[in-house]
Amino acid sequence: MLFAGLIWLTAAVVAAAFAMKRWWFPPPINTYAANFDSYFSLNIAVAGIIFFLAQAALGWFIWRFRNQGRRVRHTEGNNRLEVVWTAVTLALFLAASVPSAVLWSRVHLDLLSPTAMSVELLGQQFAWNVRYPGPDGRYGRTSARFVNDAAGNPFGIDDGDPAGKDDVVSGALRIPAGKPVLLRLHSRDVIHSFFVRELRVKQDLVPGMEIPLKIEADKPGEYEIACSELCGLGHHQMRGLLIVMPPAQFDAWLRQQREARQ
């Protein structure tokens, strides 16, 4: 009987703790993140109700059917019930897969306008590097042979390629607010993962692959980039900054950087 009470108590405390939202998502900074939040709320509501009902039923059964020395009525099952709850759960789970696929496709399948700005993000043990192409929109050729962190060339940009002369290399990811940006994710050593909580997006950086990721942020500000795939002993300190700037300010910054390169 103690156990029945304990299950109820646990269920109530867990449900209350979730409802409190003391440790929760940071505010979203774009419409996608806001949609994510509402879809998550829907899920947590459904899961919460199921959780609460199941635990409450378990507790109630334990109390209701405590041993009172009676003889139990023999039943071996009920096929109709089996069919009903199989069908209901199947419908529930299949229903979940549709909106989730729609939301997912907004991140990974929607086409991006060809004019979108592109930025290269390179992960290395244990830092983030960012590269913007010059006004020609082209990135300079890179090769592992030219990688030299001390000389400020983490990408290994080949000096022989004129397209690379006007590339801007930066330590923080600066993007203009309200504009779609195509991130080209690269890694030069092990797998890292790009994660900005406020964007509600995460994507691995896999060496040898260029993975495109579309991001867009509306609210200017500074947000932390946390590496989310174990990348070695400095994994926990692989912190980067996403700086969302008003477009005019961003353009000015980029122009200034390009001038400094020349």
Binding site: H186, G208, M209, E210, I211
Partner: protein, 94 residues
């Protein structure tokens, strides 16, 4: 029940024959995809003969084949889910 020597010998001859056909097919230079499909079909046929006669599964109860192969075939097919990714990787290398 066991296979007769005559059966075993004809299976052996057929396997050698199929092998020669496979080698022969390598030279007309079919397209890679077609060639692979033909080769795999021939290989599956050859394995069926090996399993059926040499491993005398044909002479065992049907239940044994049903217990062993459907799952194996499903899992091999499931493994093929890796291949679209390989195609994609070719596009994404830089």
């Amino acid at each position: 029940m066991q296979p007769t020597v005559r059966q075993l010998a004809s299976v052996w001859a057929a396997l050698l024959g199929f092998t020669l056909v496979e080698v022969g097919l390598a030279y007309p230079h079919l397209s890679a995809a077609l060639f692979l499909i033909v080769l795999l079909a021939l290989s599956v046929g050859k394995s069926a003969m090996i399993i059926g006669f040499f491993m005398h599964l044909k002479f065992e109860r049907r239940a044994l084949s049903l217990a062993l192969f459907p799952l194996l075939i499903v899992f091999i097919l499931v493994l093929l889910a890796l291949l679209p990714d390989a195609e994609r990787l070719r596009e994404m290398r830089f």
